[in-house]
């Protein structure tokens, strides 16, 4: 009954690179921790910082956002725009003392092994932080 706590990590993966990278990790039977819950998005540039905040609000212990390497965006520049937003969010969460709850990575469609390594590393960091501190005094109200 009392299974040890396991972090839940929401991963926003871009359709063209990181999601395909995750797929490759799967078909290549590379092992990685089962802690991530994948949400496929068209582009890292489509990840509104509010998605990340909402994931934390709903109780995710960590968030990973992954897109194509700079220069490889399917839409040419979506990840460059994303990078600016993510930098601001990263710095702000750093000030709040929550920096290591939210991670960003570039993983291409051919990097199955790299995808597994990123997930491993992120899971370890989030595990070491413990459960999401926003959950204290949690209300029962959920957003629709």
């Amino acid at each position: 009954m009392n299974s040890p706590w396991e972090p839940k990590i929401v991963a926003f993966l871009c359709h063209w690179c990181s999601y395909a990278g995750a797929d490759l990790a799967g078909v290549s039977r590379i092992q990685y921790p089962p802690n991530i819950r994948v949400v496929r998005v068209p582009c890292s540039g489509s990840v509104d910082p509010l998605y990340i905040l909402k994931a934390l609000r709903e109780g995710a212990d960590g968030v990973l956002v992954s897109g194509c390497h700079p220069g490889d965006c399917h839409y040419l520049s979506g990840n460059y725009f994303a990078r600016r937003k993510f930098l601001v969010l990263h710095k702000l969460l750093d000030l709040l003392g929550l920096r290591d709850r939210v991670h960003f990575s570039w993983v291409s469609a051919s990097e199955g092994q790299r995808f597994a390594d990123v997930v491993k590393a992120v899971t370890e960091v989030v595990r070491s932080l413990g459960p999401n501190p926003l959950r204290e005094g949690e209300s029962t109200c959920d957003t629709p």
């Binding site: 910082p49 509010l50 905040l53 909402k54 934390l56 609000r57 700079p70 220069g71 520049s77 460059y80 725009f81 990078r83 600016r84 937003k85 993510f86 930098l87 601001v88 969010l89 990263h90 710095k91 702000l92 969460l93 000030l95 709040l96 003392g97 929550l98 920096r99 991670h103 960003f104 990575s105 570039w106 990123v118 590393a121 992120v122 501190p133 926003l134 959950r135 204290e136 005094g137 949690e138 209300s139 109200c141 959920d142 957003t143 629709p144």
Partner: protein, 307 residues
């Protein structure tokens, strides 16, 4: 020309249909925004270190029939005007910026120690504030946003009024202390402050740049947070708002002054402004023509934080 003469003249000569300025509030150390439409009312116009509201906010809600309006603008109101013109919320030609050099705004929370303090017992003298006959350095009484202010007089104006002593205050890095704390202490600070918020939205409603008809905080489809003021919902509201203010916040501190609980909420927006300044070389409300930082990018933008 003094502020009063300039304002009266503008109304008398029908250069504008109204002058947006401050008037004495009903509580001590408070002022309220007021649209002066009649030159005889101008004697009630005030400008002192308790004019912390950002008047540019009210430019977006003018009554009908006001085509051209003058605004009493300290440095940050002026920046908000520029930022709003940039975002096509206002037309520059309908706006007359009546610039006033700003001495900085006093954080009224700091006057709480003096019981029953009356307004006339507080005066300014150069870089000092005199309270019941005792002089203290003004800098330590100012709001965090004013202690770090870079533009005390508006950068863009039509008339700059004389007078109003502007003490040359050192520009202080008000976030340094917080940044130097270890991570757990920073979270402890924000957890405590964010938990206190009752989500009255006064901070957002005081902000000149928060003019959305439908704010994400009250949106139901999609819904990002619940109306209950729990830590996690407050977190989404404030961090989400800070992201919306990135590259748009004019660092006026009006949000913080509006907060009934005295939560140092501007800290978040000032921090975001610092990031945008440091990494994207952009300051809101400074240049009408500069491209917004999030509609452009550089290939060599910081990348080390990404795995």
């Amino acid at each position: 020309m003094t502020l009063h003469d300039a304002a009266r003249k503008l109304l008398e000569e029908h250069k504008v249909q109204g002058v947006l300025g401050y008037r004495k509030g009903s509580l001590p150390f408070r002022t309220r925004p007021y649209l002066f439409r009649d030159p005889c009312e101008i004697e009630e116009l005030v400008f002192n270190p308790f004019c912390g509201l950002n008047l540019a906010r009210y430019l977006l809600f003018l009554p009908q029939g006001i085509e051209r309006v003058a605004i009493v603008a300290k440095g940050c109101d002026g920046r908000a005007c520029v930022a709003l013109v940039r975002e096509n919320r206002l037309r520059r030609e309908n706006l007359l910026i009546l610039g006033v050099p700003c001495p900085g705004m006093v954080d009224t929370r700091k006057l709480a120690e003096w019981e029953g303090l009356k307004e006339h017992e507080v005066t300014l003298r150069g870089g000092e504030i005199v309270i019941r006959g005792v002089a203290y350095p003004l800098a330590s009484f100012l709001d965090a946003s004013c202690r770090r202010c870079r533009y005390r007089s508006p950068l863009v104006y039509d008339i700059l009024v004389e007078g109003g002593e502007v003490p040359s205050l050192p520009q202080e890095d008000t976030l340094r202390e917080l940044r130097s704390l270890p991570e757990e202490k920073r979270w402890e600070f924000f957890r405590k402050e964010l938990s206190r918020c009752i989500r009255c939205y006064a901070c957002r409603n005081a902000c000149p740049m928060c003019y959305c008809k439908e704010c994400f905080a009250e949106s139901h489809k999609p819904s990002f947070l619940h109306p209950s003021p729990t830590l996690r919902d407050n977190f989404v509201f404030h961090i989400g708002r800070a992201m919306h203010l990135a590259g748009r916040c004019v660092e006026c501190g009006a949000c913080e002054r509006a907060c009934p609980l005295g939560i140092p909420i501007a800290t978040l927006f000032l921090a975001v402004s610092d990031t945008v300044r440091e990494h994207f070389a952009f300051e809101a409300g400074v240049d009408v023509a500069a491209p917004a930082p999030f509609v452009t990018y550089r290939e060599d933008d910081p990348n080390a934080f990404i795995r």
